[in-house]
Assembly symmetry: D2
């Protein structure tokens, strides 16, 4: 960590700051640079809360030398994590294609879609049982019944199932029933949930919050990894910007950035990012071209009559052109 103090800092203030740093067990070297002082903190500062140094009124700027994510970082870890789910791999050579409806609506619907997406090349089935909805008056998912229907669809199709968790109360049930647990964008910083998932060894798809930086996504992954669960898959799904034509702005540059910084697999959800079915195909292709390890795509056999998110769902036949 490097601190720069204001030219206005007095000798007494600088001495106080140095004493405080040394009391944290950190050695410090100091330079004059124009009228400023530059303090280089030597050694491992990763567990120092920068706030306790920024709070000194003479500290003008702070620069981190090391990345704050230790286990998510490629540095000091493996080059690439490959996650096995049943017979399938995420992060391996073959694209992981996770497809299915926004919401599980009925037994017939989920079975039909499971078969259709498998035929179109998907190797995972997704489907929402618990749905995070902006309005309390919108359809909230079939909940426990939805989970049961997903299990039936898995048995029939042979596809491992992926679904979103919204509450720590359901972790035991999800561990038993589900192959990959999804943490939605709105819960990326629900630390209570992340900590509990860190204590399991179930693969977790961690979606980037729509206002989260790349570094914050990696710090949320770090919560799970630090708890002891190494099976984290990062998922880019668009960030919130001033552009309103698309629901969010899909940040495809995050793929090569995440792959440079981290060993974790990176997948992309073009359906939620864009909110428009006709953008799914070109953005899925672009994601693959940018290096994504997989895609998470909303597919519905009858999008115009879907109970939720039909607008961003494609038909199975279009999925085929992507895979």
């Amino acid at each position: 960590m490097i601190l720069i103090t204001t030219p206005e800092a007095t000798d007494v203030q600088i001495k106080e700051l140095i004493t405080k740093i040394k009391n944290l067990g950190i050695d410090v070297q100091i330079f004059n640079c124009c009228d400023y002082k530059v303090m280089v903190l030597m050694g491992d500062t990763s567990e120092i809360d920068p706030g306790i140094l920024e709070s000194h009124s003479i500290v003008e700027k702070i620069l981190y030398v090391k990345e704050p994510f230790k286990k998510a970082s490629k540095r000091g870890n493996c080059e690439k994590t490959i996650i096995r789910v049943g017979d399938e791999l995420i992060g391996g050579k073959r694209l992981a294609i996770i497809a299915g409806p926004c919401s599980v609506e009925s037994k017939e619907q989920i079975i039909n879609i499971a078969r259709a997406v498998k035929k179109s090349g998907a190797n995972f089935l997704r489907g929402g049982a618990y749905k995070p909805r902006t309005s309390p008056y919108s359809f909230q998912g079939l909940e426990i019944e939805g989970l049961e229907l997903l299990k039936i669809a898995r048995e029939i199709s042979g596809l491992p199932i992926v679904t979103e968790i919204m509450s720590t109360k359901l972790i035991d049930k999800f561990l038993r029933d589900v192959d990959v647990i999804q943490v939605g964008a709105r819960n990326m910083q629900n630390y209570d949930l992340l900590k509990e998932l860190g204590r399991t060894n179930k693969p977790v798809i961690l979606k980037r919050g729509f206002a989260a930086t790349i570094e914050e996504l990696l710090m949320s992954a770090e919560y799970i990894l630090a708890g002891g669960n190494p099976y984290v898959i990062l998922c880019e799904r668009g960030i919130r910007t001033f552009e309103t034509y698309t629901r969010n702005t899909l940040d495809l540059s995050s793929i090569p950035v995440l792959k440079k910084l981290s060993h974790l697999p990176v997948i992309v959800d073009p359906s939620h990012a864009t909110g428009k079915w006709w953008l799914v195909e070109p953005m899925a292709k672009a994601a693959v071209a940018a290096g994504a390890d997989g895609l998470m795509i909303e597919v519905h056999n009858d999008p115009e009559n879907a109970k939720s998110d039909g607008v961003q769902s494609i038909k199975p036949v279009i999925l085929h052109t992507v895979t």
Copy 2:
């Protein structure tokens, strides 16, 4: 709700769409406007999921006539909600000044600060027991012990206490121990938590997510109100923008907007919004000038040695100039 269909829509497609709308129990009137068709849906459409209409490929645009928040809206409800907490009011004529440290650190610290903020004009004591931290390696709060210390400080100072909840597992404890429960920005769309708080009758401060629109904040309030708890206080605490000099951008225009749209009280947290102690005073004054019902301010007796967020904490003496 108003739909506009593309000029390319065929008669068959338009008929299908009209049938679907009528099957939802909604009457519809149709106009030609240039080459477009304008469909005006008559009656209460608030429980219709717009997604199921947007999913029709011929729907080009949707406009909502009515606000989607019924209980949070001023329309059809009271002009202004005033919330009583012990002897104090939030939303009344007197400003609610909620002050205290980011984190409860020790018995001595919280008691000293409680006394000091009371003397400087605060009528509520805030303090973090459970802390949401970006890094799993940062100080996470004194947790249960912190709650106990807050209760002691309340007894000594007489100030009602406000603290943040992060997990549904702790709701019973918070209901017993705390006067006002705070939902942090990261949990504004943790619907599981909102639903459970809706079943209580404890006052809740709901902080605006740093990527949440004003309407989304009201929809999250609606979750609590729809559950039966009318005691919601909205809190503006800055939104995430491209500007990096301040931690977030405090959106003070949200105050008059929220007050026009809703009957709920609106308070402002200038400490978290700006992330810099020297911005707290001018922004607190500006918030009051813009019509805020209260302020939530981080105060520390020794900011330079605070365990967290010292950088944005002011000393009690500065609080005095604001109140």
Copy 3:
């Protein structure tokens, strides 16, 4: 155009508004929808300034039925504009690869790069003579001398040249010397410049402002088209978001959106968008996968010693992998 008035509107206010609309020569039909009135304005409202209606205090919302860009729209115009520059096409089947240094630095440099990019597959040479720089103390380009060097490089390499204009004073010179004129992101709403370019018949690359919506980009194109110049090429180059790891966030979904809305060719500049040379290759590939008609890429023979933007320049050999 559709107006929705507040439930609080009086009959007198509604009558006044209707009279005003009719005085604009527009017919209007009115509905009751819950407590609101919905007014559908019939006929061509494209030349009505919405501000003069929004200013009525009883107008709560406005929805545009028709797109505000007439000549840039696909509707009512050709399916696809293909622009010929010498022997090359932009918008045709072959990708337009516009490559070259950020700044023209010397005769030797621009000639060497021109030869190298041609060999690597480029069909246009770009190079900055006039440079928009955030700091008045940074290198501002070789200016007029830079233009002369570009002309020499064109003669030797046979590649048409593309360079940025920053001032209306230079339009005559650019018309004579340059094959394609570039309007930079900072000048996308320099209407004075757009109007003057609209009076020429020189191809113009119009870069999306880093805070401009897709619709605003099309409206700026409309300025040039409305002036009589049909040769506009749209260029996505990243928008400003809260993410700071990359310089800007490349919005690749704008490619299929622009192609759906407009007949104009769309190219992408991954160099300025990302600000990092190692992101250029994956993002260039992603742009092509998303349907771009061309790429604008900064290439330098010796990026580590470039006078500007070396950090985002790739070597000619990497260009080869993209083309």
Copy 4:
């Protein structure tokens, strides 16, 4: 300037980088910090283009020690600049109230408004003669005739006049006719225009671009100051964010930040920032509470019939409550 190099950097690469820095005439000191090297560049690096160092692939991060704006900075300059315009001051003890219509529409209109705003406490008259409009089909202002009408209104009211310049071609005319020249948000980085204004000694109101950081605003001011014109007034007018209820998000924290960093006066335009007339009054008051030196407010005698921006114009009587 401080550079941090990647742990992967070889000795040869580090030597090359050091040589390059020394060839720029800058001395450098180097530390080991974990596996990273920290390079502290000594002396004045303000004229070094950081791009030429970032382009080295081993440079991982750069931290600026000194602010890049020398003349706009408070450091090394006066504490506060006060600008005299006729008998009025901007930056002095009295608030500068700049009021008037969005567009000059007629002789009668501008004279009536000038008289009314003067009576309500304004000390400057604003009015648009040349209007930057998103659509080429919208009213573009009365142009030269508008300037003439402003001069008449000045003569009658005695108020100095403020109006926006959009083209360098008009500088001579504006120098003769106008008391304060306004550079609009869209032209904040029109460097050609800034350089020409830097050669005059006419007061310039420089509006913050809606996607410009505080530092970029100061860098644009630096262009004018570096040219020799010390009379720059900074104007906050809202930035573009994801929130769509207001036109832009007024960033009032920029006021105390700009006043800490710079000696230049800071005014606020709540009309353009919010785009709604009923937000002008609370936000104007908040701006004053946050320390603004002045306000720029759109006032119209008949907002509902204004030719542009009526929606954000207040009546003179409301202005009175702010001043």
